[in-house]
Amino acid sequence: MSGFLDLFRPSTYGKLPLDDGVEWFVKDWLVPNFRPAFRAIQAPVDALLDSIDGFLQAVPFPIFWLVAAILAWRIAGRGVGILTAVSLLLIDMVGIWEETMTTLAMVITAVAFCAVAGVPLGILAARSDRFAGGLRPVLDIMQTIPTFVYLVPIVMLFGVGMVPGVIATIVFALPPVIRLTNLGIRQVQGEMVEAGYAFGATRRQVLIEIEIPLAMRTIMAGLNQTLMLALSMVVIAALIGAGGLGLTVYTGLGRLDVGRAFLGGFGIVLLAIILDRVTQAMGAPTPAQANGWTFRGVARSLLGGRGQKAEAAAGQ
């Protein structure tokens, strides 16, 4: 009976060599033809990562601790300031300071590239329904495909090490900032944009004077999500040779050293909480926005111009 029904089963007649096809596509076509292009992507990531990591490792702990705590306080209020100070002390006390700084450098690098690529892509998507329609399935795939699947081609293209780890992180963390930039700009009220054009603004002026400032909260929410995704990638990135806290977890796992694995996780969680709180406060319409998103406005809110407002808002 089953022999009969097997007649209606495609695999009875042979196998579609999809795996061979992909292998050929990546190994024999993508890698040899585009290696220079991928190397070109690699260079700026490498440069930025190196300088941030070098800088963070070079700053003495007490200075970093003080600056970070004050920044967190000015941006997100007293509570987050204290939280940051205590967390950083704990991280150093348990002996994972260097790893934490490396992870922080990786995350900052990844988020910087996501912002540089993602915000313009999001703006394009907001301006063109066709572009948005084409982009959506790509973003869906980026978010649903298991990370391990694209680790292999990334290793083939970029080798192993910190930079491929960061590149994998960028691929994984990019979608939210694109999606939310697109959403934020589309949500800007029609009348606002109309007002811009009615007073004779060019497209560019409408974008800079109206759309981006009004979409800023949503864009910041996207960056916050991107940041969180980037942090969740650090352990996986360690699989392809990235260092930092991910490596601590990974080696702990390999040696069944529960304590070490826990330490890595502990550092990641504390880092995540601090970064989340601070970036969320940046997106809320508090100090920086009250002072305007200009350099002076941000500087003023950092240096205390309207600090009480920030605290009031943080206390809500």
Binding site: Q189, E191, M192, E194, A195, Y197, A198, F199, G200, A201, T202, Q205, E209, I210, P213, L214, M216, Q289, A290, G292, W293
Partner: protein
């Protein structure tokens, strides 16, 4: 007066097959029919009108009648499907992108229903918005914006954020923003609809003042008839994308073109719209020095009323002379008869504001700008104008006449 804006055969059709829809609309099909056949929405349907310099042109209509679309066609925020828009003799529909931006920056400004102020900018920065786009230096644009803010009474709020202001104040910022560039034309799409009634009335008064000071021509959209009557030099009533009637406020109220307009105006207090000048009747006055007693008697007998105004030789109103007074005291000299005091009013006063002048039940003299007699209004005429709203003019005139002959007989008794 010169035509500031001339619109000729303007169409705007939203939807896939604009050409086909335009053809059908041009052939006189209704908006619904066109939509059924082509899925195209005829939002503006063959509209032509002109607005004179420094006038307020009000467009009124129900929701969805195409008012916003029409006003956005004027500065081409919405691209018209066909037709011409001519401003100061130049065709705006033919302007290229940079030319159009220039027109929007300096010639035509817009005020929005929900203010559309930038929340992250101060009141001053908002007011300076158009000037910034134009590339003025910070000092210049802040000076000008500050003057505009002071004109709307918000100078003290320059450094606040819009969210710290009430709705009425926010719309004042909106108006200041549009005035800062000293435009010749203001386009206002339901600017006061989001405000509560008291503030709204205040803003209307203020707008009239600002319009005089800044000498702007205004196209004003509203769905509030009272607002239209108060502000409009001309009112256009819009329905399904077309103008049903265009005319001065009083004509809209007293002489509605069809049932749609009639339904709009039926609740209007006519006394506030109809002016004394418009119902004044011309009479032949008694002129001192030219008339004698006999001719005065004859004039009164022919007049629809039992009394006539008396003018001196230079045409100045001396008072009211009734038939009774003329009959009294034998045959004195006309000059020696002292006429009764006569109430007077300028032409543009509404019946509502003139009511108290009729306290004695006597006719009131209507004077033109130069103080000359333009006509007189009998109390009877006021009542028939207020009551017989829908009656045609002729009938009203008939209704008045029988009153005249009865008066002398009363005197004779």
């Amino acid at each position: 007066m010169q035509d500031k804006i001339v619109v000729k055969n303007l169409y705007k059709i939203f939807g896939p097959d604009a050409d086909k829809a335009a053809e059908l609309a041009g052939a006189g099909k209704e908006k619904d029919e066109v939509f059924r056949e082509t899925q195209g929405v005829v939002a503006v349907n063959d509209i032509s009108f002109s607005v004179q310099e420094q006038q307020i042109f009000v467009v009124m209509g129900l929701s969805g009648s195409g008012k916003s679309t029409l006003i956005r066609c004027l500065n081409r925020l919405i691209e018209p499907t066909s037709g011409q828009i001519i401003i100061d003799g130049a065709d705006v529909t033919a302007a290229g992108p940079s030319e159009l931006r220039e027109i929007r920056r300096s010639k035509m400004a817009m005020v929005f229903q929900h203010f559309a102020l930038l929340p992250h900018r101060t009141v001053l920065e908002n007011a300076a918005f158009a000037l910034k786009l134009r590339g003025l230096s910070k000092k210049d644009r802040n000076d000008k914006a500050m003057r505009a803010l002071e004109a709307v009474g918000l100078g003290a709020w320059a450094d606040s954020l819009p969210s710290q202001l009430s709705g009425g104040m926010q719309q004042r910022v909106g108006i200041a923003r549009s005035l800062a560039a000293e435009p010749q034309i203001l386009l206002m799409d339901e600017p006061f609809s989001a405000l509560d009634p008291l503030i709204r009335r205040e803003m209307q008064d203020e707008l009239i003042g600002l319009q005089r000071d800044f000498k702007t021509t205004i196209v004003f959209i509203t769905h509030d008839l009272h607002e239209a009557l108060k502000l409009g030099d001309q009112i256009a009533v819009m329905r399904d994308g077309g103008f049903v009637q265009v005319g001065p406020p009083q004509a809209i109220v007293t002489d509605p073109a069809d049932d749609y307009v009639r339904a709009f105006v039926q609740d209007v207090d006519r006394a506030r719209v109809v002016t004394m000048g418009s119902i004044a009747e011309q009479v032949e006055p008694i002129v001192l020095g030219r008339d004698d007693l006999a001719s005065a008697r004859r004039k009164i007998a022919q007049a629809p009323y039992s009394a006539l105004p008396v003018l001196d030789a230079r045409g100045k109103l001396k008072g009211l002379l009734s038939e009774g007074a003329l009959a009294e005291g034998g045959r004195p000299h006309l000059e020696r008869l002292v006429p009764d005091e006569m109430q007077t009013t300028p032409e543009d006063v509404s019946l509502h504001d003139a009511f108290s002048l009729f306290a004695k039940g006597e006719p009131v003299a209507v004077l033109d700008e130069k103080g000359r007699l333009a006509g007189i209004v009998d109390p009877q005429a006021v009542f028939s104008h207020l009551s017989g709203g829908d009656a045609p003019e002729e009938e009203q005139a008939e209704a008045e006449r029988p009153a005249a002959p009865t008066a002398p007989s009363h005197d004779a008794a």
